[in-house]
Every structure is written in C-alpha cells, then in structure tokens.
Amino acid sequence: MIDQLAEIGDSLRTHKTRTALAILTVAWGIFMLVLLLGAGRGIQNGVELQFKDDAVNSIRIYQGKTTIAHNGLARGRSIQYSNADYDQVQAKVPHVDKLTARYYVGDNRVSYGGQQAAFDIRGVHPDHLYLEKTIITAGRYINELDLIERRKVCVIGLQVVDRLFAEVSPLGKLIELGGTVCQVIGVFTDEGSRSEEETVYMPVSTTQLMFAEPQRLHMLMYTVGDASYQQSKDSEQQVRSLLAETHNFAVEDKRAARIYNNLDEYKKITDLFFWVRVFVAVVGVGTVLTGILAVSNIMVISVNERRREIGIRKAIGATPGSITRLIVLESVILTTIAGYIGLLASLGLLELLKATVPENEYMYQPDVNTFVVVSVTVLVIASGTLAGYLPARRAARINPVEALQPS
C-alpha cells in the first residue's frame, strides 16, 4: 500500500501542471457546493431569527360569521366569544402554555390634561405580555389581582407617553378613556413594531365592566410552548371543535371561527427552505460533477500519455488489476486532496463571514453541519473512484505490443 502511494505520489509529481489543474477544478466544485449549502443555512437561520423576534409559536382565534347552515340555524350568524370560551380553552385544549383574551374598546379617545389622542384600547389577561412580546420599561404589567378586583389601571405604550405626557412621568397619573378614569401603572416598548406602542392595555375584566358586557370577549390567543408542529395542529383542531360545539356551528366552517396558527407560516418557510436546499444541492452537485468530468478527462489524457509506461509495466509483470488500481487510486487521491482543499477553503470563508458580517435578518450564522462534511467526503471519494474507473479500464486494456512499438 505504501509502495503504491509512493508510485502515485511519483506520478502526480511528474505531472505537476496536470495535477494542479485537476485539483483546482474539484476543489472549486466542492468549495461552491459547501459555500452554497452554508449560505442557504445562513439565510434560513436569518428567517428563523425573524420568526423568533416577531411572532411566537402562537395560535390566534378570531370570531367570524357562519358560512354553512348547521343544526337548523341559517348561515351568516355572527359568532361571539365569552369568558366561558376562555375557561374551556384553558381547561380542555392540550399544549396551551400562555393564554390571553382580548376585549377591544370601541371608543378610542384617550386624554390627559389638555391633551387628547386616539389609541387602541385593549382589555387583556396578564399572559398577553408574552404573546405580544411586550417589554416593560417602567412600572409593571397587568397582573391577576388587577383582573380579580377589576382595577381601573392601564399600561401604556411609549407613543402614548410621547403624545400625552410632556416631560412628566406618566406613572401614577390618571388618564381618561371610555368615559372613565384609570391610573397608569406601567410603560412599555415593543421591538416588533412602532404601531404596537400606540396601544393602551387594561385588565380584560375592567373593560368588560366599563361597557357592561361582563362575559364578552372579542378574541383569544395562546402559545403552544415547546409543542411540535403536529401537536400545535392537534391543539388548533381541539379549539375548533370545542368552539363549534359551544357555538353550534359546523366544525368544517372555517369562517365561523378564524384560527391562525403562526407555525403554519413557519412551516411554509421551512418547507420553502427544504426546496432551497434541494436546489442548492443540485446546483452544487452539478458543479462537483463538472469537476469529476474534468478529473476523468485528465485521467484519460494521463493514461494516453503514459501508454508506453503502462506497456512497460505490463511487459515486466504488472497485471491488468494492478494497473486499474493504480489509476483509480491516483484519481481518488487527487479528488480527495482537492475535495479537502475546497472544503477547508469554504469552511474558512464561512467562519470569516460568521465573524465579520453583523447579525442581520437575511444572513445569520451561515454554517454547515457534520453531516454535510461527512457527505462531501463520501461524495469526493465515490466520485474519484468513478472518475478514475473508465480511464483505468482503458489503461488495463492497453496492449503492450502496441504500446512498446518504437515511436
């Protein structure tokens, strides 16, 4: 084996230009393949980062109108949620982690001192904090006690503060809204969107009381924690059948209760990236294949140039098998060296990108995993064998009588 390697090293050294060219082609192919895979992974990571930032693994349930006649009830009936729906979701639906309802206050005028402006006013449960990724900058958020005691308290966004409070701390101040007065207990910001900061949050029970609708809810939303995509779909289905039963509509009537599962969007993107990866792999493998063809071509030329040498070897006792092994091994060694040069170069560039390109939504942590590295290694060795095999067969069939004819 060592002898054989020495023989090959000898042959590769003798044809330096040819060797360098072959190595360059394959290395380039592998370089492009790994770089494409790494960049694809980086783009995917970027999108996943966006998802983590903007939206949690949440399921949002809006009320709607029936579009299918059911149990003798005509279609077009409005479905309205209530506290009972909230309680049922909490009690009966699997994988519910954080749960909140919303009560939308119709009258959106808010005033303090002489200032008045229009803002979204929402009655919510304490868990709303997590669902909207609200960040408290001063004071606190709504808690269970506020809810139970139906306190007239509110948490306001930074935009609200800007508009109503000039140079005074809003905390503890009383603002007017919906014909009543309530105390500011907290201020929040939201990295996701500025418009979110133009919102006033109150305990859901307080808003229900203010408008004399003690049971009324407009919307429900919850997260599914660490549940898988399938589990979140099961959870969503549970909610749908629960609501259909309670509100007497057909379970297949998607418009009666409009349910949006954020994981659906996530799944779509993940699926898209699966195909992006497939595409990248096809393009990359194509590039590698070009490299393989180049190596095969170079091996054919090499065999032709070495006809006489192969003839001599056969005359002095080289078996066709030993000639085949020599050429195939030469090709494998050539592609393996080239493959690793390409692999190391691309991994180096990816590391450099990771270290220098600042975190952004389009490209985040471009990387390839061990699986890719192992696959590339297997690919290189397999393709080296393939590239060498046909030229090797040709070499093994060289007739020494013809090869040794004085030229």
């Binding site: 060592i2 003798t14 070897r313 002095i316 006792g317 078996t319 066709p320 040794l404 004085p406």
Partner: protein, 242 residues
C-alpha cells in the same frame, strides 16, 4: 525450455491478411544462446512477442519451462512474464520519471518484494552492470549504453529462465554494443537461455545458434558451436524453403 509447435499468427492489414508466422516449429534447450534474424516483416518480432507471452498465436502450442502457455488470462500472462522472462528492447523502455534504481527494482515491486529488499537487490544488479554510481540518475541523464545496461539489470533482477532481447544493440555504437553483448554472454554462461532478435549479422554471429526467418517461415537454423549444441538436437527443419 521452449517448445513451439505449429505456431501461426496472421494480421488483417487493410484488405490483406498478413501471415506473420506460418506453422512455426521450434525447440530451444535450456542454456542456448539463439539469434533470430530476418528482414523487417519477416515475422521475427512477432515470434519474439509470442515467446514473451505478449502476443497469442492463432494456432499451435507453446510450452515454456514445462508450462503450457495456452488460454492464460491476462493477469496470469503478466505473472508468467514477471516470473520467467526478462525483456530487453531496442529503445530501452525505461520509465523516464523513475531513477535507474527504481526502474531496475520495478519487476520486484510486482512480485510484492518489500521496498528495502528490492532496492538492495536493484543496487546489486546495477553494480553488476557497472552502474552503481548512476543509481539515482533519471534515464534522461544516462547515455544509450548506460540506459541499455539499466534495462538489462531490470530484465535480470527476477532471475528469469529466459532473456528475450529485441534489437538490443540497434541504437548503440559498436563499442557500446560490444559491452552489451558481453553482458549477454556472461549471463548465458551462467546458464540463462538468451534469445535475441537482430538484423545485424555480426551480432547474430556471436550467438551459438542462428535462426533466419523469411515471410513467417524458418528458412535456416544453424548451430555454430558444435561442441555445445549438436545439430541433431533440433527437430525443426534445418532448411525450409517456401
């Protein structure tokens, strides 16, 4: 040593069928020094290729050192060549990117002899042909005579029973040719069978037995040194006029 009977070989050349060898019968005893003569196209190279198991005859049988050379796989033919036959060519046929030492050692590589051992042996054979100090030289750094001596060392290193030489002095000047021929005489004296193809009468004259081919037939088969080889040893037709 060698027993050829009814060996024929023909090639298709365009529309003509060229009979390179016609029904050749030839016996060569161990230790003989045989020269095969003939003009180009007489079939002498084809005969040498058949003897060297580089070419297979269309008909006839060939026995080499008691082994029937028939229906051999290409791999077996390679092993027979490696074990029984040493080749010397007109154009030396050294591998140009290998040193003299590596060239000489190559047949042992195909016998799976360890590197150290075969290099040691190669050096011994290079010394034998007077080129020990040229061991690290590439063929391009050697003169014609030196190259041929390296080639002879390579042919001898496996200690074959049969040494086949195809115009070994064809590319060399007279004094160098003499050195080469002396090497052949030397190994022949040690008992190795030597068959060489030549068209130079003075080279052929140094052999103990001279065979002349014409159009694929043996037209003359003479033994010069009656003390060593009796004519009656040869069963083939001494003169075969076609």
């Amino acid at each position: 040593m060698i027993d050829l009977s009814g060996i024929s070989k023909s090639y298709q050349m365009g529309q003509h069928r060229v009979h390179a060898l016609r029904e050749i019968n030839l016996q060569i005893q161990p230790g003989e020094f045989v020269a095969i003569q003939g003009s180009s196209g007489s079939g002498k190279s084809t005969l040498l290729n058949v003897l060297g198991i580089l070419d297979t005859p269309d008909t006839g049988s060939y026995t080499l050192d008691g082994h029937a050379i028939e229906n051999l796989s290409t791999a077996d033919a390679a092993r027979y060549r490696n074990r029984f036959i040493g080749f010397v060519f007109q154009s030396f046929n050294l591998i140009h990117h290998k040193s003299a030492l590596d060239n000489v050692a190559l047949p042992l590589y195909y016998q799976r002899v360890a590197r150290k051992q075969r290099n040691l042996k190669a050096l011994e054979y290079l010394e034998h042909v007077g080129l020990k100090d040229r061991a690290d030289h590439k063929p391009s750094e050697l003169s014609g005579g030196q190259s041929q001596r390296v080639a002879i060392a390579r042919a001898l290193i496996t200690q074959p029973a049969l040494l086949l030489a195809d115009e070994p002095t064809g590319a060399l000047d007279t004094s160098t040719s003499e050195q080469i021929m002396n090497l052949f005489h030397e190994v022949n004296a040690q008992g190795m069978t030597v068959v060489l193809v030549t068209h130079e009468p003075d080279i052929a004259a140094q052999a103990h037995r001279s065979i002349v081919l014409r159009d694929g037939d043996i037209v003359s088969d003479r033994t010069r040194d009656a003390a060593r080889h009796n004519i009656s040893d040869h069963d083939s037709d001494p003169v075969n006029h076609s």
